[in-house]
Symmetry: D3
Subunit: 340 residues, 6 copies
């Protein structure tokens, strides 16, 4: 039985209702989410045993985030209640030719102020089989990066599978270091990575390739570049995303493992209900797929891609789709008729 630990941040997300711009809003919809939590919630929805590890302050707003964590059945017993504030971000939803915008207000959040040693990794990882982190955490602060490294090392020492979503966010990474100063050591432990090749190379301090994924041969060639740099890497996956405009996306998925390339079908998504968290939905589907369909990797990447497609239709950061709904989608033609 799998037991999965995800480590990272959960934030308050404030967004104007409907398609209003920030300057028009007189109220904000509020939900609580964050890359690594969203993955945990997906996995719990699919029926896996999952714990989310983070730090949250002791106040009434952080309690709302706790309530969200509990409502998804995600384990929370290792969450530190310390530090001074819950990280926040503001989201203006785009439409058609107007892009969505994120304004971060997560400086000095509890997780970014966590101290090395605060988390008892031995206890946290006890009995676990899988450890997941993303490139957002080391972008927050030197402390967060160091604590992340503690976790990764402890997980590797205990023989857990380690997965990583590269999640490069330009507006973070403000504390004086660049990804290439921090990520190579962290990524060296990863067994599963989600992200496109150029982002991986950039984080590893290498040059961009502008790869072409048209044929499997082309795709393998560039994927192999990443494998050469990361000794423990077994599986590299990426979302294929053609952004026609903010409301219209074409979504597919690729998975590369032991020299074989697996692809999921392309799916038209229009209109997009909520773009945020769709990558996390892919990641959640990927971990689930690798655990449950280890002998059918085509199904694993199809599951991850289907999860990602459905998430585009769901408000909030989290993919509120059950395992059965994802399976129904990937086995259907996508016509989505009324079920009555």
């Amino acid at each position: 039985m799998q037991k999965i630990i995800t480590f990272g941040e959960i934030l308050g997300r404030f967004s104007p209702p409907n398609n209003l711009r920030f300057s028009q809003a007189t109220s904000f919809e509020v939900i609580y989410g964050g890359g690594e939590f969203n993955v945990a919630a997906s996995l719990s929805n699919y029926g896996l045993d999952v714990e989310f590890v983070t730090a949250l302050p002791q106040n009434a707003i952080a309690e709302c985030a706790m309530r969200t964590i509990k409502s998804f059945g995600v384990g929370y017993k290792h969450i530190l209640r310390q530090g001074k504030r819950l990280g926040l971000y503001f989201l203006e939803n785009g439409a058609s030719g107007r892009n969505s915008t994120v304004v971060y207000d997560r400086d000095d959040s509890s997780i970014s102020q966590v101290q090395p040693g605060d988390i008892n990794w031995d206890e946290v990882l006890d009995g676990a089989t899988w450890f997941h982190w993303s490139g957002i955490t080391p972008a927050l602060s030197p402390n967060a990066a160091e604590v992340c490294l503690e976790g990764v090392r402890a997980a590797a020492a205990k023989g857990l599978t380690i997965s990583t979503d590269l999640n490069y966010r330009k507006k973070l990474w403000k504390y004086g270091k660049e990804p290439k100063d921090v990520m190579p050591e962290l990524l060296s432990y990863s067994n599963v990575i989600l992200g496109d090749v150029d982002t991986a190379l950039f984080m590893l301090g290498k040059d961009k390739l502008d790869p072409d994924y048209t044929t499997d041969v082309e795709a393998k060639e560039v994927f192999d570049k990443v494998f050469e740099l990361l000794p423990n890497l077994k599986t590299l996956a990426m979302t294929y995303r053609n952004s026609v405009n903010a409301s219209h996306q074409i979504i597919g998925g690729l998975l590369y493992n032991e020299g074989k390339m697996y692809r999921a079908r392309l799916n038209e998504v229009t209109p997009v209900v909520d773009r945020v968290g769709t990558g996390d939905a892919f990641m959640g589907g990927l971990i689930y797929g690798l655990c449950e369909y280890a002998d059918n990797l085509k199904k694993a990447v199809a599951f991850a891609t289907g999860a990602c497609v459905i998430k585009h239709t769901i408000f909030g950061d989290v993919n509120r789709a059950s395992k059965q709904e994802v399976l129904n989608f990937i086995e259907s033609d996508g016509s989505a008729k009324v079920d009555r």
Copy 2:
């Protein structure tokens, strides 16, 4: 002057606002509708004299349904006020690749508990020219099926035109009988039927044909199968629906009468505002078309199809479009410019 009776159920419909899933909703939009009532409301909007016959309990929520009926100018003087509850259903609206879902909670609704003899059909049908029912009512309970048969027989005896929307709902039909046990006798009286050929054959206990409608010759061939089985049938119509995804539909219409096939143009509908009740809008447009454009059946099916297309853009079960708006649409190119 036409006077139309529709017989069936009106329910409370509860749906999460916007595109929320059930699990996210903290409020439900509430409207009152149901297949046969929706047809009545359409006809009243077009200016016809129409009575809705059903049973509703004596309580404050049923009063809300009554108020909806009155607000459309539909006649209500034959509605029985008896039984214990208003039927309900819950609707989760889909988007793109996520389908809409209906959860029925209509067991023991007043109409399903109606007793043979409760409705004085002689009085109800007095002065009427047209009787409409749908395949939903006999699916509810043995009582409802029997009372429906009472009505159909009385209408036939008085020489009314009888129309039927097949409306097959898999999640109903739970009381131990199958459509083929009940529908053949009921349908034997119908003069006008709305529904696709395979549903008709299934309800009549025959095998599926997987018909092809590409050419009129192919279409006629399969339509004729239905006519062979139903001695009183004069007009068979169907909605042509290509469901690209839950938010994107392509809609046309066919009508077959005295060996001639009439088609309406195909219309792209995206985005869909509300999918529910679009078949009822077609049915309402069809009855109106057959009454008013009896000598121009191409216009009749165009009117029905136009009504169906416009309904996709209107929130709620009922097609809140006037006769003039439907005519404007079918005479336009669909560019829908601002009227100012």
Copy 3:
């Protein structure tokens, strides 16, 4: 440094929320806007110095309109506070094949009752470089037409650039005169006109041409017809709009100046968030473009078109896009990725 005066009306706009029809609404969203004010707000958003001239009554609802004017940083010191009511209009938003509808309730609004001499044009235009008006104002009442002519003459006498949006609204023009009785003299002073050629010819009392804009040669030929009739005209621009349906528009732009035709790329807009004010957004972008990119008219028309495209995604009458956002859009491929 440019200083721009726009003259016209600001109204209260009441619209059912979401996609509700009038008959379903239990509340109306309320915003304040109007063609010439929307242009002023756009220009203020881009950083120009702009004054809006109108008449508003002394009551609490008109104060709300004043507050909107102030909130955009538009100058308001020449606004007359007189007359008896704020003009209103009701907007039902369409979707797919259902068109939007406007119900005007602007009779006897303060601006329509303004008397010749009420506005001290000498003071208003002092220090100004540009005067903008639209074809809506002379459609309101004989008084409004006469005061508009006062303004145009005063602006011409002071050597200001004069721009006009033709803005033909069939539902206005009810006071007994037709555009051809009033517009020729008014337009004779215009240096910049926004509008299609057939509307221009109609307002000048000439016959329709049904022009074809496929090639520049064809387009120039018809544009030249308008220049022949208007001695002071230097620049004629038009929005190219292909209305697929109410939710799906394809938008481009043309600008003709000193015998040269400049075109902006075509842009797909779907879904449309708010169609109203998109022409005003083009006009605002055009004035800005002509002021700032006078030596690069291709950029000027691209800016105007980009502003128009973005406005389709913004709720309300006003284009709440900054100069930088418009520039980002016209330099991008329109994929509108999340900015985070």
Copy 4:
């Protein structure tokens, strides 16, 4: 069997939600109401046969008002569909020490532009037993006053009971006449009047008395002054209202008939949900009480007062209380326990 005609205006009422001020609102709640219509709706709720007579324009917003009229089961067959606009008013709801404010925008509404002769009073009053009008109508325009007089005379000629709510509104009466120029003749036909004595004297061109109602003797003395001036008056009623603040009212009622004074108990109302239409609720209850409890005038005034009290708890202009609810209230101690 009573058949009641009420004559007057129905308007669109726009109010900020919750307790927002005009300057804060981004949406307005919209309902349709007006003094004489509110009375009609009350009477229909109590089960009487009632027709509302007014003039409404032919447009989509007026259709919303029509739909409201129909939804209360009030007769509408004599409503003229002519003229140019629906009257509107804006309501800012007060609270505690901040008063509610009304901004009228009803100039040139259809009813104010009605012409003498437009209404066929013979047809309207055929079969009727009661005619109701209020002091708002003659305040609107000379035309409205004249048409009201036509109606009053026709009703008197046919022997109907005539009732009047004085309803003095300072912000109306702007067309050059004062109440004393118009009201004396109109009121001379009234058999039942609702209003306080000083308002009656003011409308009849007499001096104020600042009456004291503490004892029945004092009250009778001042009531008699009004009877001296109005030959046909039989019943004079008034609401006793102590306005502690905008959210806290103490409400009672008095009725004077054939020299006898009848009083209803005082009721504390806090908080007030909606103050508007509470006088109309009293009027509706009064007419009902005089019709149904003619031999028990203490019950009649208790019914009117109870209706007024309950209306304070109901959003909108109309008293959505049934006859049974009013009776329950006047027979209870007002503790208003949950009914479950």
Copy 5:
């Protein structure tokens, strides 16, 4: 360490927003609650270990109720997932002199259809110290009454403390039995009862006393009547409620134990935010008080009363107040100053 089992029903509650009447609502607020669940949620909020036992169907709406249960940290592992529907009720919130109204739609809910033997009481009660049920459950159906009796007997056999809220609901009890046919045996096992004396006597088939609680002597006298009839009763408590009107309540509490009477102070509550669930809040506070302040019963009844008072200010069925908030309230003067 206490472990508490509560047994009963959780329902969907639909209520018009703000103070709207049913007939005005276009949406319903939806929350999930029910007497015995509300008690469980209170206890979980105070930090106790609590399991809720009920039956819920397998559908998407019941999942929403499950999500609510989980979100309060209440145990749910013994909930049966069977039967056909979630019980519903509709709540119209009153104000001032208008009472709140409940319309039940809970026939055939899963708990009412539960069969004797369906619940494995041995497993459910294993390790538990306290069993709570209320008079609502035996009112639902013969089955529910019988299963409740199974639970009570099993709890008594295992030596658990048994508490009961009498909760008499006139609109339930429709299956042919009266409380006196069912309740005496059930109540004979109760150690703690919440309810007024006349309700207790009525349920036990005895005559009403109209007791007076002014002095402790008077109160004891009537309380003793109940103790005479119930051999296992140790503690009898009641809420003292003076309902000034629907928005204004005066709340106190009494507790009688081993011949001693304990009283909590009276508290003015105005305005009432939500009246429903205030009795359950008292019950939850009472169980907590009896467990934690067993040696200070004055504090126990003060805690129960304080919880009840605070619940009046909280939307929904459940008392979302922490233990600390209740303690702060009972130790304060009730002035409720801003905490900042």
Copy 6:
């Protein structure tokens, strides 16, 4: 002509709608306010010339605060656009016996990170006649305290009137200093102070007096203690507030100047719409009163008290009442009748 500078912070305020608790909210109402800005907005509403001085970051959310500042007509040209975040706070609105709660999230806001020298006080104060600050600013950070002192000294040097609202907030003051370390020097320059005597003594490092204000003699005695400690003080004012519960307040005001005590009448406020900013409303009314009614200090304190009372009925931080509305209130009996 007065020109007033207020210096301090504007924050984003997020509050659950209606009376929801934090744990229930799925959206937050958002407004922008802060003690010193609220004063500026009040003064601008009354017609005075006022500039608000603060620091705000360069991001889209801070733009919303800017837009609020502009919409009140408050001057903003000296606002620094620097630093990293907009200060935020979360407000849970209480009711009856449940208190409101504030959760601050304003650490590292731009104003708290401002550096000495950042503000060019010479330029800011040029032409000004009055400088206002409050005890919140020095509570934020050592920097903010130092910059505040710079401003106070510069204002004193230029001979401006200096006013201060003591505004003690226990949850602030976290940077290692106590009020008595910082406030004595700052307050030594103040000419006008708003606050109660015990807060003043506490901030000046003196012992509490628990003063009694029943008679003027008693009140003067304790007020004199404060004057002894502050050489430049001319006017000391305080709000008299009796908090019955969170929804019910009794409000009066005192003003002490040159040995004379002036009192405003007591006012009952129930229900309270919004408690936050009522002290700022008093302060704004006080400055206005001292400027405009310098020779009638009874009117000055009545104006301040009336402004405070009205603010309790207005949503948001800012007192959206005009000068005329405040005057109407203080001249009325508070019955707050509908103005129509």
